[in-house]
Symmetry: C2
Subunit: 568 residues, 2 copies
């Protein structure tokens, strides 16, 4: 029997659910409403619209074949009725209807439904400080904001900008402002690293260093107290400084927009998100919800998690569309696959970083690998950095993070692990993971396999590592004489350092270690150093063998140290 | 108790096993022998050495930190004794010893072992035709051959070359000869497509077309009868033609080099490979084997399969090294992840292609998807083609193949599926696969997810498809009046074709189909056409809805047709 579906929200999930449903049940009807006029756009493209990479907002609203996804498009090509400028006021679950208001005419209307879809998305967090509503202070959650921001930039009004929040959106916006428009851009972050909860402090430090090299200034562990200005913003006051600014972008995260669902008595999680089952039904089985207003299961922890991601919304929309038509599609949950471009590098992750894993109660440990992305003899290649988080108790892989060049090689390694995380792989699965190999693409022992191998050695306590930050600390205190810095590379690599630091930097190439073992002190902790951490590991194994065990392998080697921003 | 290990073969697996073992058991000893002088080189780099991308053979033998992996390197840096120019003659399993001959001195020696590793690799198939031993006729299985080939090329002796065999190695060599050296190159293949057993005929056709555009000539379904010449090759005679050639490369596959194992009474498979268990032990538990001389389990079929791949050998080598030291490492098997660069494109696969799946007895079906690799609004993007093979009975994914630009985006999609194949994913797992999303890397509904969605619709018989070759056939016979070619794109795309073929090409944009339904004939089969197959699918759904069901969606659309080489 034909049914009528009402969908509240027409950006990502709503349209997907509507179109899928109509393809499965052409005889049924769909009404999709949204309070704004511009619907069905790619919100993740906003930073690229701000930068100018995308010249016209209409491009974000177009299909891949350049048709504008407006009301007429949905009517003619998708047979879906769309009402824009229409706000949902309340849901009457008993009568199965939604009360709406036409914003222009102020008229109210009641839309009856057989099934309802809530796709109300998220609300960006505005800073709870004076001045957050000033002209020139923006969130970047929708196209209206984005268009205003770009007007101000293009109008020449912006010389200095402050971005508040060093999550993905904040960093993408910072790049857009600095790179394409030459705006002097600072990022203020309340936590002590960028991308908190996504990558480790070391990897965050590498990404930050790269952005600093590209002109971005960072203020970490600082809280914004006030946005100053009269008619429009003139600056930002933090707990440590004052920064001049003509533009302030608040990228302080988003929260589920679940007010309508809450008022209708649907189950809401402690985080404030709509609770759904695997079929994407709310606590009322006639009402579905998905996208940024719901929680889903984190497939690593098994616990609810919040992933406000456009890709997730699209996939969930299709699941809802199928189920509206009586299907049995499931959305099991997610592991939070993530990638972003920052100037010339990519940063990516899936599953838990070490801090998140510990926060979730895992006895976790992480391992780090630096290796060329392609065969070392292939002309084009670059060092890729991968980090892996593992449950110490059983070797289960909890997450992976990476940093490399802006090519798609990073996506390959993260995808390979991300898609298997729900199957609970162990370290051995990573060691044997079957990344396709050919010299222009990967290595015979790929960096991902090498990461697995390293992790095995770390778990077996054969590879005992330190990171760049620990190295920096011990190096800074080198005059205390407690640490012996042993460079295991060939003389060609070590020479500069030995000449510069003759009292502190010792060169014994790994292949000479056996013959020169008497040069290694037995009363100091020994930091073993090479380019990426492989030869220094070999040295550690040999030193163990001869009974010298107070050794620390600098994982990622000098490559990681340099990428992290430490120049000796 | 310290043990002594003998390893026969020192190219890929042998060194890996030796070094891993020595790191785990420094007190034990290893002797590794090889009959050739140049050991531990990256054999997959040979095509890049032939092309000149890799200038010096030593680069293939170097570590990533530029140390030559010769006997001295293994002695000094890895504590492994290496004997080169030493051939293993026989294995005495009772006495636990290997009889070897020093090839220079002709002296024999008996090497006792506690455990033995057989890493004898593969033997390239020489064509069983007259002239196969002529000067100028080569296989490309080892560096000795490669160096000779390059000497002849660099010496200006080669103007025309014939490559026999259109598998991965043959095509890589053909590219090297044509692209870097400007040699007029033909490829002769006995099967009716290139990359047989790896990708579908359609995808093979696309790759072939691309190589033809880059100057390679192909002769498919042709068998070489003779290689002609007196002192050196002058040509190739097939069952259909004579081709002039100064150089003939036989890339007709390899077979396991298992003679030594067979003579020692170890279990050998019908294919002639050494049989091993998951710990990589042969039928004699003191003897391990791996790499190109063994079979492993195909994780899709559960049956033995032969994967002569350098990456596999490396990973297996580590498993053997661990187990030699009393560990419990397993090599479960493989799915045959594969990728290659061909001029400006990449071709990749994992698991079974349709023909292989049918050959293995599956009731299989395949689906095809063409979509932009990045967000359609992002400035840099390219169409990616993916194909997926599924068991009709249960929707289980059996394999994936792809063709795209030469970036690493293809590796990302193939890796994502390849690493999950052993967990027996279904189509729904692909639809929901969590590829990391950001506009410079992927789409909100990634091409891989879209492939899963399409496959669901194909299995549900809602999407009824034809490929470019069927389209070409019906198009060629268009004057028979049986087929109605309906272009569902906007007029801007359709116009050229309508004007060129006014009697055969009909334009009704998908969003006008409802209003112009009377223009669609009910007595012909209808081929639905758009750019990539998405709007034409929408049209098919609508035509179903109004009772017009003899319709065929051209999957991959005009993009696939063009890539395949058909210009209308």
């Amino acid at each position: 029997m034909p049914q009528h579906i009402v969908i509240i929200g027409a950006v990502a999930l709503g349209p997907k659910a509507a179109c899928r449903f109509k393809r499965l049940e052409p005889e049924s009807s769909v009404t999709m409403i949204d309070q704004v006029k511009m619907i069905s756009y790619g919100g993740c493209g906003i930073p690229y619209f701000l930068s100018g990479d995308v010249s016209d907002p209409a491009q974000l609203q177009a299909t891949s074949f350049n048709m504008l996804r407006d009301e007429e498009f949905f009517e003619k090509a998708k047979y879906v009725r769309v009402l824009t400028g229409v706000k949902a006021l309340s849901i009457d679950r008993e009568k199965r209807s939604v009360l709406v208001r036409h914003l222009e005419t102020r008229e109210q209307e009641t839309l009856p439904y057989d099934k309802l879809v809530i796709a109300t998305g998220s609300i960006p967090n505005r800073l709870p400080v004076p001045g957050a509503d000033l002209n020139g202070a923006f969130t970047v959650a929708n196209m209206e904001d984005a268009i205003k921001i770009r007007e101000q930039i293009a109008g020449g009004k912006v010389e200095k900008a402050v971005v508040v929040g060093a999550g993905a959106i904040g960093l993408e916006v910072a790049e857009a402002l600095a790179d394409l428009w030459g705006i002097e851009t600072s990022v203020v972050e309340i936590r002590d690293q960028i991308l908190p909860g996504i990558v480790s402090p070391i990897m965050a430090g590498m990404a930050q260093h790269h952005m600093e090299e590209n002109g971005i200034t960072f203020h970490l562990s600082e809280q914004v107290r006030e946005i100053t200005g009269r008619d429009r913003v003139s600056g930002v006051i933090t707990d440590r400084r004052t920064i001049d600014a003509d533009l302030v972008i608040m990228a302080a995260g988003v929260r589920p927009n679940a007010g309508l669902a809450r008022a209708a008595g649907l189950e809401i999680s402690p985080r404030g998100a709509i609770v759904i089952n695997e079929k994407m039904q709310t606590s009322d089985p006639l009402i579905y919800a998905g996208g940024d207003c719901v929680e889903v299961t984190n497939l690593v922890t098994g616990r609810p998690a919040y992933y406000p991601l456009g890709s997730m919304a699209n996939r969930q929309g299709r699941v809802i569309g199928t189920n509206l038509a009586g299907g049995e599609a499931r959305f099991e949950g997610a592991v939070g696959s993530f990638i972003m471009k920052l100037f010339d590098i990519s940063v990516a992750s899936a599953g838990l970083c070490l801090a998140s894993a510990e926060h979730e109660g895992f006895q976790a440990v992480s391992g780090f690998m630096a290796q060329l992305d392609h065969a070392h003899f292939y002309p084009e290649k670059d060092i890729m950095y991968l980090e892996m988080v593992v449950d110490k108790e059983n070797g289960r892989v909890l997450g992976i993070q990476g940093l490399g060049n802006k090519g798609e090689g990073m996506m390959a390694r993260i995808s390979a692990v991300a898609t298997t995380l729900k199957y609970r792989p162990t370290v051995a699965d990573i060691s044997n993971m079957e990344i396709p190999y050919s010299p222009p693409f990967s290595s015979a022992m790929d960096v991902l396999n090498a990461l697995g191998n390293t992790m095995e050695n770390i778990l077996a306590k054969k590879n005992r590592v330190i990171d760049a930050d620990q190295f920096a600390d011990w190096w800074e205190k080198r005059d205390d004489g407690r640490t012996f810095f042993l460079d295991c590379r060939g003389w060609g690599n070590a020479e500069t350092f030995v000449k510069k630091f003759p009292d502190h930097w010792k060169s014994i190439p790994q292949d000479e270690l056996k013959d020169r073992i008497e040069e290694v002190p037995k009363d100091k902790r020994i930091v073993l150093i090479c380019n990426t951490g492989v030869r220094s590991y070999e040295a550690q194994v040999f030193l163990d063998h001869v009974g010298i065990r107070d050794t620390y392998n600098l994982q990622g080697g000098m490559a990681a140290v340099k990428k992290w921003g430490l120049e000796l």
